[in-house]
Amino acid sequence: MSEKVLMKGNEAIAEAAVRGGCRFFAGYPITPQNEVPEYLSKRLPEVGGTFIQAESEVSAINMIYGAASVGARALTSSSSPGISLKQEGISYIAGAELPCVIINMVRSGPGLGGIQPAQGDYFQAVKGGGHGDYKLIVLAPSTVQEAVDMVYGSFDLSEKYRVPVLILGDGMIGQIMEAVSLPEMRDVSKIKKPDWALDGKGSGSNRKIINSLYIEPDVLEKMNIKLAGIYRQIEENEVKVEEYLTDDATVVITAYGTVGRIAKSAVNILRSKGIKAGLIRPVTLFPFPYFAYEKAASSNNVKKFVTVELSMGQMIEDVKLGVNGKKPVEFFGRSGGNVMSAEDIVDFIISKEV
């Protein structure tokens, strides 16, 4: 953590990926994440890596499948409609237990939608997206620094469980410029290739096969049970949440990503006005920090929760699961690419207080 530089979110994320050991990128242009491939098209060849501008999102994610099969630390990035196109490949990657990192700089939808920030892909990110019984590890950065740190560690995290990591950002985190400390460059020659990775040496009983096809129901069910066990381990080990001033809070605001940062400002404003507000910001969306909501909901101080999202209400369903009916959960959202200010959140909460 030596250098401190001013960087655009997308470029900082791309550099963090390289420093975390990423040596393969395939992607397709889409706003608002274009700086990621643009940066890597120059940067990856400098470190002996591979950059491919694929002919489609579909092809790009299947290149990730191929690169991950042979043990490369592989990254793709896109934005909402492009991530939809990648879903088939993501399901295959999850089914074949391949690690990789996927960045979604979420824009507004549905359909072609708009190019401004949004959080309408929450369900797609944490509830599946593609077909079949699988999960991704979903991380939601609220600052460029947090995005850098997450991306840097995401290859290790993905390889540890052989589960793809999805960085769920939004147009803001991609486009904003902030001062960041860039982590040390990993020496990739010292990162051991996973022993399951193909090297072409296989023959007879030591052949390696990357596959997600299990035609016998009993065999596939065993695989599904195995994956579910891995997802439970992830829930036990990897959940992360930021709690801010929740100890004496009467109103708990909850938001993720850049909205979590706006909500934190709202908490400070509300406190200056004498309203004891607090914040729960899930850092990991899968695994989701249900326990933080259970704890807050059981507190005598807490009167209600307010979920704030750039959507018509998606994470609120998980918030309600955590709160489990113990306290009311209100919703304040903007969509279409509109972003609320801290004052908007404050006004919403004060209007409900009266």
């Binding site: 489609s56 099969s69 193909l198 990357i210």
Partner: protein
């Protein structure tokens, strides 16, 4: 006694699931023997498609990847870029390569990726039970063109070799057939040359193999071989379409 024949080291002992008389078994053997010929042991990665050859990873005795439908060229691209010293091949059927994966096929070829693609054209979707393929002949009956393929409503067959040979990327494009012994031997020669080109870093090679599907064509194996010779080759002429 002198050994006059032995099974290719690139075939496993698994029993093939293919229908009696199907040409996939022949082409598997040709691919395996071509890999033997170039002494590729210890550095081969194959990509299996979705379709009848979906289980090819059980049959080729090398590291294998099962790709999503039509995406084998993208998977092969990445594997070869990351491991340039491996011999990388994709084995794909007509629905996989010429329909759902046509985009990936064209662009891997246009990029001149140094991989080998073996394309089985049997003019039908075999695994799913005989539906119309992008290469189904005009008049050919399938379960989704029960009265025979009618160009007015079903469109026309796609000639992959001709299409790809217009691109600058490919180094070698040839169409072969496996309806009799001389043609099987020519097919093997073509597949071997495609692998040799990869060794010599010449770039993208694709060998289209006109193949039979007696089950879904509703023919005996012999009738189906005659159909390749008499009908398929009229629409899909054999020959070298590009060689650099």
């Amino acid at each position: 006694m002198a050994k006059v024949f032995q099974k290719s080291s690139f075939l496993t002992d698994a029993v093939l699931h293919y229908c009696p008389g199907c040409g996939h078994g022949i082409v598997h053997r040709l691919v395996a023997e071509a890999l033997d010929d170039i002494k590729a042991q210890g550095h081969v990665i194959g990509i299996a498609p979705v379709g009848c050859a979906v289980f090819a990873y059980n049959y080729f005795n090398c590291d294998m990847i099962e790709a999503a439908h039509g995406r084998a060229p993208s998977v092969a691209t990445a594997v070869k870029r990351v491991n340039p010293d491996n011999i990388v091949f994709a084995y794909q059927g007509d629905g996989d390569l010429a329909s759902i994966g046509l985009c990936e096929t064209v662009h891997a070829a246009a990029r001149g990726e140094n991989v080998t693609i073996v394309f089985i054209n049997n003019a039908i979707y075999g695994m799913t039970g005989g539906q119309m393929a992008p290469t189904t002949l005009i008049g050919q009956k399938t379960t989704t063109s029960p009265l025979g393929r009618n160009p007015a409503v079903n469109g026309n067959p796609i000639r992959i070799c001709e299409l790809l040979s217009t691109l600058d990327g490919p180094s070698y494009i040839e169409r072969v057939a496996v309806y009799d012994t001389p043609h099987i031997l020519s097919a093997k020669k073509a597949i071997r040359k495609a692998f040799e080109n990869q060794v010599n870093k010449k770039g993208f090679s694709l060998i289209e193999v006109l193949c039979n599907c007696p089950t879904n064509w509703g023919m005996t194996p012999q009738q189906s071989m005659d159909y390749i010779k008499n009908d398929m080759t009229k629409i899909f002429p054999l020959g070298v379409f590009k060689e650099v």
